[in-house]
């Protein structure tokens, strides 16, 4: 444990970004993610990097667009209302096939909502996030260690597939401290011949652009992009199985909801209930095959969410009618308790017993 330090999730993200080679950060203060900006403000000047507090989230994401156009690793961070403002930029990044890392430390919504933890930006994150046909790679850490590791991974995937990676965390993950090891391997950065670095009068000019006025061409770029998405679905799904070998009741939960659920599953097991969990680490691509496979054995799936029930739609699609899918949730900044999840498991077990 000697090599581990206690860090807030937000700070772990910031330091991991630096480890991943990110030297440009643009942000705008918003609770509960402001520690990321504060950390970057302190660190970046000392390592020759750039920290800039933008005039708005819109400006910040467009500064990201600018740096990404030059081929360098760059990130911004915000919380739910701020991410809505960044939506425009997310769509343009997708349209111009630019890599970037965007952090969303979610809080309750809609509107100004609250500042307590939430997972109610699931739809926004996994179904695109703004106008047009596109996806982001969405990573959902459930520990401070994962906050750090998935930040590095997020940069790597973004570069590899020329798209935005989003860390979809929540206020708990951002604010909590846990021991973290920052000894994280980083893949070599990828050549970016498309970047605008100046022609040096030695090549034709590069153009970063998301405008395609001819519909046949725009259609083709969208098809090409979705072909890349298929590769991602094949290769990049990440998830954690917890006590799934004999599970009859399968919880699906990510982030803080997965941690609460683990406590509940342990209690259920003590009572002889065969409960387990699939914890998606990538929310897009969603572990649909793994859930479909689990549905061959499990009788009930419980989606534990800090929202009115958003991920449950993806679970239902994956389960495809083979098992019951129920919701165990809190919203508005409230967090389900282990007791609430245990009660949902017990209710499912009782119902399963009657079959």
């Amino acid at each position: 444990m000697a090599d581990k330090v206690l860090m807030k999730g937000n700070e772990a993200i910031a330091e991991a970004a630096i480890i991943a080679g990110c030297r440009h950060y643009f942000g705008y203060p918003i609770t509960p993610q402001t520690e990321i900006a504060a950390y970057m403000a302190k660190r970046m000047p000392k390592i020759g990097g750039v920290f800039l507090q933008a005039e708005s989230e819109i400006a910040a994401i467009n500064m990201v667009y600018g740096v990404s156009s030059t081929g360098k690793r760059v990130m911004t961070s915000s919380s739910s209302p701020g991410i809505s403002l960044k939506g425009e930029g997310l769509s343009y990044l997708a349209g111009a096939d630019l890599p970037a890392l965007v952090i969303n430390v979610q809080r309750g919504g809609p509107g100004l909502g609250g500042i307590q933890p939430s997972q109610s930006d699931y739809f926004q994150a996994t179904k695109g996030g703004a106008h047009g046909d596109f996806h982001m790679i969405v990573l959902a850490p459930a520990s401070v260690q994962e906050m750090a590791e998935l930040t590095v991974k997020g940069f790597e995937l973004a570069d590899k597939y020329r798209m935005t990676s989003m860390i979809l965390a929540d206020g708990t993950m951002g604010q909590m401290m846990e021991p973290v090891s920052l000894d994280i391997p980083v893949e070599k950065s990828i050549e970016k011949p498309w970047a605008v670095t100046g022609t040096k009068m030695q090549r034709k000019h590069n153009i970063i652009n998301s405008l395609f006025l001819k519909p046949e061409i725009l259609e083709k770029t969208n098809y090409d992009r979705y072909q890349r998405y298929e590769t991602i679905k094949q290769n990049e799904v990440r998830y954690e199985d917890y006590l799934m070998e004999d599970a009859e009741i399968c919880i699906v939960a990510f982030g803080i909801a997965a941690r609460v659920s683990k406590n509940a599953i342990n209690e259920a097991r003590k009572k002889g209930i065969k409960a387990g969990m699939i914890r998606p680490i990538t929310l897009w691509p969603f572990p649909e095959k793994q859930i479909a496979k689990a549905a061959e054995k499990a009788k009930t799936f419980i989606s534990v969410e800090l929202s009115m029930g958003q991920m449950i739609e993806d679970i239902k699609l994956a389960v495809n009618g083979k098992a019951d899918v129920t919701l165990c949730n809190r919203t508005g900044g409230m967090i389900p308790s282990p007791e609430q999840v245990l009660a949902a498991i017990e209710a499912a077990a009782e119902k399963g017993g009657n079959n």
């Binding site: 005039e55 400006a59 467009n62 667009y65 425009e88 022609t199 009068m201 970063i208 652009n209």
Partner: protein, 247 residues
């Protein structure tokens, strides 16, 4: 013998601009300056949303197409990524003075070492002639069919006057391209705005009063006269700020 030729910094792609539109002149002035300063290989241009949206095809340097109004923020990112590169934005009045006002003001306040070429033709061209933030009082447009009523939709924004109140910017000048003399002055201003950046002086901004015969409903010739008679009296030409000259 002087042979008329295209500046190297302009590509061979034919402009899509309407007959009599002065975008072509301004493109050429920017390209001539890039040639004269020998900076094409390290210049990155940011195109706006508006009539000049496809400027990324017309310049031979590396180009980025930005979201509507966000060019100064994108330029900030590009410049901060490699301060050795020369970064310019080319933006219209809707892009710069309406939807992108925050990005404009804050890049000026930060004295970002970038060059902004601001095309003010008092109308939205690409979408077909709607009211711009710079449309004149009483000006008839598609969205001010009875003339711009200042009680209803406010007054035109004088961007040079406004930005020159900030401590940040290095250089702010308004020019026009409606006659040979003005075009020569415009070229000088644009050159200075790029030279300032090369010399690390900071935010340099040139507003170019431009014409839109199509959406003004005038012939190209009358449109140039309209600049003299209507635009310039409201938007006086001249240097609004020049920090180097003040010293």
């Amino acid at each position: 013998m002087v042979v008329f030729d295209k500046p190297h910094a302009l590509s061979d792609v034919p402009f899509h601009y309407c007959p009599g539109c002065t975008h072509g002149i301004i493109h050429r002035l920017v390209a001539e300056v890039i040639d004269e300063l020998g900076i094409e290989g390290r210049t990155i241009g940011i195109a706006p949303v508006g009539c000049s949206v496809m400027a990324y095809d017309y310049f031979n340097c590396d180009m980025i197409e930005a979201a509507h109004g966000r060019a100064p923020a994108v330029a900030t990112g590009v410049k901060r990524s490699d301060p050795e590169n020369i970064v310019f934005t080319y933006q219209g009045d809707g892009d710069l003075a309406s939807i992108g006002m925050a990005e404009t003001v804050h890049s000026a306040a930060r004295n970002e070492n970038i060059t902004i070429i601001f095309i003010n033709n008092a109308i939205y061209g690409m979408t077909g002639g709607q009211m711009a933030p710079t449309s004149l009082p009483g000006q008839v447009t598609q969205t001010s069919p009875y003339g711009r009523d200042v009680n209803l939709c406010g007054y035109p924004i004088k961007v040079c006057e406004m930005l020159s109140q900030l401590d940040g910017p290095e250089y702010i000048e308004r020019v026009a391209v409606n006659n040979v003399k003005n075009i020569k002055n415009a070229k000088k201003a644009i050159k200075k705005a790029f030279e300032n950046q090369v010399n690390g002086k900071g935010f340099s901004f040139v507003e170019v009063i431009s014409s839109c015969p199509t959406n003004w409903g005038l012939t190209p010739e009358k449109a140039l006269k309209w600049i003299d008679e209507k635009m310039i009296p409201y938007y006086p030409l001249g240097v609004y700020k020049d920090r180097s000259a003040q010293k």
